[in-house]
């Protein structure tokens, strides 16, 4: 008798458990690279926020910049039988086997902010930004702002040979093509760091008649722009007015500079990659329709007109 009751209650329990599980509650595993930069910390924070808002149970695994940790995390997600996996791959190669395992277990995998060299039927979709497009947005802003006036541009490149440096340079040049009034007169690498950005800008200023010959600065990331702004100030010029400053990433500190009138524009590399990824997953689960293989995130342009202090306050707490 007691056995029967126990069995019955167990069945009810199980039914109610599986019942709720199949409704809205998703369990999603997220394998993050690690904390390599402020941007990535913000991506982690936003992913957790997004999951909480949607009532998704997020299982988070930090790989500390190691692929083997990510593969281990993926295997444990598969063993736990999660509903979907988010993967921010640390490198592009070597994923075929573990992605195949996920596919065999019928767990869709969404790639975040980087892609992999694997057959594209092994993952559901990739959510990334378009680096060339970011450069183009920055270039287009400069073309529109100078409005036909002659303008000599200096460029602070990212780490030589890195894909953001190559693509952001390419996009910017594409936007400037056909506008003879805009000329890139100097281009050097600032290694994506504030220190090098400042040092290289100092040499640009010396080399171009104390900066009188420079009308605009394009930096491949905000950190180099922040360093360069200090160099411009120390040379006795006003960044933002004497030399226009446009950069990419939209980290909080550049909004402080914009609020002070020392930077003009930045193009956002959004850390909210998880939002579109969850949207795609939910749509996929609802009607089984696979999303396109690449979901491009928005590259939003921020200028001084966009209430930079407010954006700064919003971004400050994200862990940049």
């Amino acid at each position: 008798m007691t056995f029967k009751v126990a069995l019955a209650s167990a069945t009810i329990l199980a039914a109610s458990f599986f019942g709720t599980a199949s409704a809205a509650d998703l369990t999603v595993g997220f394998s993050q690279i690690g904390s390599e930069s402020g941007w990535r910390a913000a991506e982690t924070t936003l992913t957790k926020q997004q999951a909480e808002e949607r009532g998704i149970d997020l299982k988070f695994a930090d790989a500390q910049q190691k692929q083997e940790n990510q593969i281990k995390a993926l295997r444990s997600f598969i063993a736990q039988g999660v509903d979907a996996i988010l993967l921010a791959p640390v490198v592009a190669t070597g994923w075929d086997e573990v992605l195949q395992e996920a596919k065999d277990a019928e767990i869709p995998v969404v790639l975040l902010d980087r892609t992999v060299d694997a057959p594209d039927d092994l993952y559901l979709t990739a959510v990334t930004s378009d680096l060339v497009h970011e450069g183009k947005v920055a270039g287009q802003w400069l073309v529109d702002t100078v409005a036909g006036k002659d303008c000599n541009v200096v460029e602070l490149q990212g780490t030589t040979g890195s894909s953001p440096a190559i693509d952001r340079k390419k996009g910017f040049e594409e936007a400037l093509a056909g506008h003879a009034n805009l000329k890139i007169i100097r281009s050097q690498t600032g290694d994506f760091t504030r220190t090098k950005g400042k040092e290289v800008m100092e040499s640009f200023l010396k080399a171009e008649d104390g900066g009188k010959n420079i009308c605009a600065l394009y930096a491949h990331n905000d950190d180099m722009a922040v360093g360069a702004i200090q160099a411009i100030k120390e040379a006795g010029l006003k960044p933002g007015t004497d030399i226009l400053v446009v950069s990419i990433d939209a980290v909080p500190d550049i909004f402080q500079a914009m609020a002070a009138g020392e930077a003009n524009a930045t193009v956002e590399l959004t850390p909210n990659m998880a939002g579109p990824a969850f949207d795609a997953l939910e749509a996929y689960r609802k009607d089984g329709k696979a999303p396109p293989k690449w979901i491009q995130t928005e590259s939003k342009l921020y200028t001084q007109a966009d209430d930079p202090m407010k954006v700064y306050e919003e971004k400050k707490g994200l862990g940049y």
Partner: protein, 342 residues
């Protein structure tokens, strides 16, 4: 006195000559190179940039010279810079005064040096391995302090150390000049320098002659840590923020290079702090020269490597003896001509 001065001049001649040649080459590529002007009450120009941007490597080279003279090496200085920059930023933003912040930061650097020194002197671990520990772990420690973000600050006193000026010179330049002079005086006006050289040439022999080698070794690494701490403060103050990922990245290699270009042997023994400082300026002159010349960035490292290889080849013992061999016949011919004229 004049004999020691002459010996000193002969010791520094190759480094000074190399620096002069590089400065001349840069001025050919960029005509306005030697122009100096006063702006906002301070000297302004590319030469000042070299002195200023060279400050971190120059400071690291001071400590590195002494460590290398003991037949050691300190790979951790770049990471110690990152730790100390992070500590300085964390202290100043959490409300400590400038004096307390500096004291805590310099203390942290000395502590890092003490750790290295204990591993080397007490546990007898090879210096390259002992300091590798902190080189690898240091950035992690720095990231723990900054919590992974670039920790920015607005304290005018701390910023002054990075971008203020004293007697028309940027503060970093004043700091490394004064500190370099002080260390050089302490090791050369006392027997300390000779004891360090004795330790570097043969530790056992030095110990048997009554030199307290353990204390001396630990002190050398502590000095290196102190230098790294000052460099770390300057690097952080310069950009008004502590960047745990990038502050001092690979600078340990530049510092070792500065010492080697300065002619101090990695096998320990005789050393010259002045020559290492000129070595640091040579490296920075190359860096600044490349930036001014307007070459595409893909060439930066190749040009730098080519110039440094050239300097090292000229300094190599084989090349030196070849110079002596080639200059001998001409010297005797000139001597003969002189005798005949009499």
């Amino acid at each position: 006195m004049s004999a020691t001065l002459k010996a000193y001049a002969r010791r520094l001649f190759p480094q000074v000559a190399a620096l002069a040649v590089i400065l001349l080459m840069v001025s050919l590529a960029f005509p306005g190179f030697f122009k100096l002007e006063i702006q906002n009450g301070r000297l302004y120009g590319s030469l000042i940039d070299i002195l200023n941007r060279g400050a971190p490597v120059a400071l690291l080279a001071i400590g590195m010279t002494v460590v290398i003279a003991t037949k050691g090496i300190d790979l951790s200085v770049g990471a110690v810079m990152a730790i100390c920059g992070a500590v300085a930023a964390a202290c100043i933003t959490s409300g400590y005064g400038l004096a307390a912040t500096l004291a805590i930061t310099l203390g942290t650097g000395v502590l890092c040096g003490l750790w290295n020194g204990l591993l080397v002197a007490v546990l007898d671990i090879q210096p390259i391995i002992a300091t590798l520990v902190l080189m690898v772990a240091g950035r992690g420690i720095a990231q723990l302090v900054t919590e992974g973000a670039i920790l920015t600050f607005n304290d005018p006193g701390l910023i002054f150390i990075g971008s203020g000026s004293f007697l028309g010179l940027p503060m970093p330049v004043v700091i490394w000049l004064v500190f370099g002079l002080a260390v050089a005086l302490v090791v050369r006006r006392t027997a300390l320098g000779m004891l360090i050289e004795a330790l570097g040439v043969n530790r056992r022999a030095a110990m048997l002659s009554g030199v307290s080698t353990g204390v001396l070794l630990i002190a050398a690494y502590m000095l290196s840590g102190l230098c790294a701490a000052i460099a770390g403060i300057i690097a952080a103050a310069d950009i008004r923020g502590a960047d745990a990922n990038n502050a001092g990245l690979w600078l340990e290699l530049d510092a070792i290079l500065a010492v080697v270009v300065g002619g101090t042997s990695l096998l320990g023994g005789r050393f010259s702090i002045a020559a290492s400082l000129i070595g640091a300026l040579i490296i920075q002159a190359i860096n600044t020269g490349i930036l001014l010349s307007g070459f595409p960035p893909e060439f930066n490292l190749i040009i730098k490597a080519a110039i440094i290889v050239l300097i090292l080849v000229i300094q190599s013992p084989r090349a030196q003896s070849a110079f002596v061999w080639f200059s001998r016949p001409r010297a005797t011919a000139a001597g003969k001509a002189g005798e005949e004229a009499k």
